[in-house]
Amino acid sequence: MESIPEHLKFSRSAETLEHEGISIEAYLDNLEQDLKEELERIMRDEKMLGEGEAGKVFEVHASRSKCQACVKVWHPHLEKLKSENYLEYRQIQALDPEDEFNLQDDLYISGFRNIPRPFAFAKIGNLAIMGMEKVQGYTLQDIKSAGAHIANPAWKDLDRLLFELNISHKVLHRDIHKSNIMLRTSDKLAPGGELSGELVFIDLGRGRKIHGRPTPDDYRLTIGNNVISYTQDKSAVEQLRPNPRTPDTNIFTR
């Protein structure tokens, strides 16, 4: 029996296939090249929706479906950084890309729909990519910069969502700020405009699954003697409020 090469791992695992006496080696042989070419096409031809420390997000054209798609491409240098400076890597990407995909998938399955729906994950060498729902709308940062504001939902709904995420689903985002919260809406963004929609948390790369109620330590990451406090240098979401509690309040870094 022809065996599946060890370096090829599919969602239908090589072990399972081998056990069943199935060989898909011929199919997989050049698939790696196909995936690379497809990724190059996306990065060359598709519109970039955003870029962060961990990666870039590109739109993927889908005309028929109500749900539009996008692809997150993690920066390839992160793999090198992981082996050379683990602490710095973890500051950028607390979860490995595949674990981020798993967390997002588990959260979606458990009924939390205020995140982009994940579709698929692939890793080719040091390139990791995730296909997911493209959220139609704007980040709170975009809304603030445009001089628009949110009529609905209300501020208390953000509180409620975070409570649901932290307490009901036992997940801490740990990187909540204006660029990581979107308003899912079909309203147009215009200066002075009022928008209505649904809040969506994006980028779970610094997320964490917890057991029980969150403790202050859960919001941080400790590696050896080093403590990483996520979002420490970002302005508070609360500053979007008409009367923020204090200029540096950031209780929503959770």
């Binding site: 399972t16 011929a26 054209h61 028929r64 479906s65 995909f101 399955i109 698929a120 890793k123």
Partner: protein, 99 residues
């Protein structure tokens, strides 16, 4: 070189629900094709061995085998139907070739 390709559990879960509640969009002795309504993906419920299937379709990066017993193949792209033919991103691909 490491190669990993996975379809999310939520997608496979929805395909199973769709298969319980509705008829396939295309059906023949090779398998049943279900085009997802809520996302630009599709699932194939194979009636032939996976190995035989993969040996007879064009190699594409968006045709992904899964560990699921019911939906062995998920197409990670938008699939459409026109005049009884299947298209991926506008390109005709026979997703259920006669074996």
């Amino acid at each position: 070189m490491t190669l990993i390709a996975r379809i999310s559990k939520n997608v496979v879960q929805e395909l199973k629900t769709q298969a319980e509640q509705s008829a396939p969009d295309v059906s023949n002795p090779t398998g049943d094709l279900f085009i997802m309504k809520s996302a630009p993906l599709a699932g194939i419920r194979l009636k032939v061995p996976l190995e035989a299937y993969l040996a007879n379709i064009p190699r594409r990066p968006d045709i992904v085998p899964t560990d699921d017993e019911l939906f062995a193949i998920v197409v990670n792209s938008e699939v459409s139907l026109r005049d009884g033919k299947t298209f991926i991103d506008g390109q005709e691909v026979d997703l259920l070739p006669k074996l």
